[in-house]
């Protein structure tokens, strides 16, 4: 089980929660409940807890499976399948770690992760005194859409 402390700063779907639909998240996500549909966390980490049951296509930077996943998984950096996890589906990732005792049925395609292009340095702009602060919370939640 993922220690509580390591989940700080991530959204959580608890073990009594069931979601059918699409999940997009701009922060790490811990799923210990049931999800059916798709999960996309492009630059973030998805952890499927020991009670988690995911019947979904998954895209994330990093995936750690302790529970069950049925669906194809794309993890741009790495995927870790722990001892009692069960994964049925095809995996595309740069690196994989699988513990003895994990159940896996499917294919593994190792794809080289492309280094991200350095963002263009913005030219210094004169700052207006009336600049509006950005709402840091906007879009920073896991949305469950029906």
């Amino acid at each position: 089980m993922e220690p509580e402390s390591s989940r700080g700063g991530s959204a959580t779907i608890g073990k009594a929660v069931k979601i059918a639909g699409q999940i997009f998240s701009r922060e790490d996500l811990y799923v210990d409940g049931d999800v059916e549909g798709t999960i996309e966390l492009m630059d973030h980490k998805l952890t499927i807890g020991p009670n988690g049951k995911v019947h979904a296509g998954v895209k994330a930077r990093e995936v750690v499976a302790l529970g069950a996943i049925q669906g194809n998984v794309e993890a741009s950096e790495r995927i870790e399948i722990r001892k009692d996890a069960k994964l049925v589906g095809d995996i595309k990732t740069a690196r994989i770690v699988i513990e003895d005792g994990a159940y896996f049925k499917g294919s593994i395609d190792i794809v080289k992760s492309e280094p991200k292009a350095a963002p263009n340095q913005p030219r210094p702009q004169p700052v207006s005194a009336a600049a509006v602060p950005v709402n840091a919370a906007a879009g920073n939640v896991a949305d469950a859409k029906r």
Partner: protein, 233 residues
């Protein structure tokens, strides 16, 4: 002091995760030796069959290789490091779930079909190679023949099947192993107790009959009466 005792504990019980080993948790840095559970005895042995199997694919990349022994980190690392796509089936687990100890059920066409749909439901000519290890050794003749036929179907023309048989004699129980690739010619073999043996006799003649639809069959007799068999479609 506490750090020292923690390291001593890890040394005694063996590493459980990349965090324990201090190694980066990536495919290339996986431990060389697998971690056997209590009662499992690891052994390293050279394998001419393995050498021949991968030797047949020398200079090629992007092939599809199916491993029927389940997903072990060592095999995933080895096969993907050659540039191939790795497919995994925990064949004996599905076999056990489907038939248990019921030998008679292995002759039932409906059950055979159900088993093959669960374990080998792939399009024809999907794979360049199949690593069957010792998965065929525990099957009764009807199921075994149907499985060999299905394996042949899912192999591409000129594709290879590697399988291993432990004894040419009739026995009630035979040992059960997991196979982890160490390098082109070396396997780490870990024994996991015993399983009920098939009534089929796995001597050269029996194996030739089993793989008679393949274009060629090659045997390598290793120590402990172990037969490695390479069948080419």
């Amino acid at each position: 002091m506490s750090l020292l005792s923690e390291r001593l504990k890890i040394f005694l019980r063996g590493p459980r995760s990349s965090a324990d080993t201090g190694l980066p948790a990536n495919g290339g840095a996986a431990p060389k030796l697998a971690r056997p559970a209590a009662g499992e005895v690891p052994e390293t042995r050279s394998s001419r069959g393995l050498d021949q199997f991968f030797g047949s694919f020398r200079g090629q990349a992007g092939l599809s290789i199916l491993d029927l022994g389940g997903a072990f980190q060592e095999n995933i690392n080895f096969i993907t490091s050659l540039g191939h796509k790795f497919y995994s089936e925990d064949f004996l687990r599905i076999f056990q779930e489907t038939f248990g100890e019921d030998i008679a059920d292995q002759s039932n066409p409906g059950r055979i079909d159900y088993f093959l749909r669960r374990s080998l439901e792939y399009p024809d000519e999907q794979f360049d190679g199949v690593l069957a290890w010792d998965a065929l050794e525990y099957m009764e003749p009807a199921l075994l023949a149907a499985t060999a036929d299905r394996l042949r179907r899912i192999l591409k023309p000129k594709g290879y099947l590697l399988s291993i048989f432990h004894s040419a004699e009739r026995k009630r129980m035979v040992p059960c192993y997991s196979f982890r690739i160490q390098d082109l010619r070396t396997l780490q073999v870990i024994r996991h107790g015993e399983r009920t043996a098939s009534q089929q006799l796995f001597n050269n003649r029996g194996l030739e009959k089993l793989f008679h639809k393949f274009e060629s069959v090659k045997f390598f007799l290793a120590r402990d009466s172990l037969r490695e068999v390479i069948a080419r479609k």
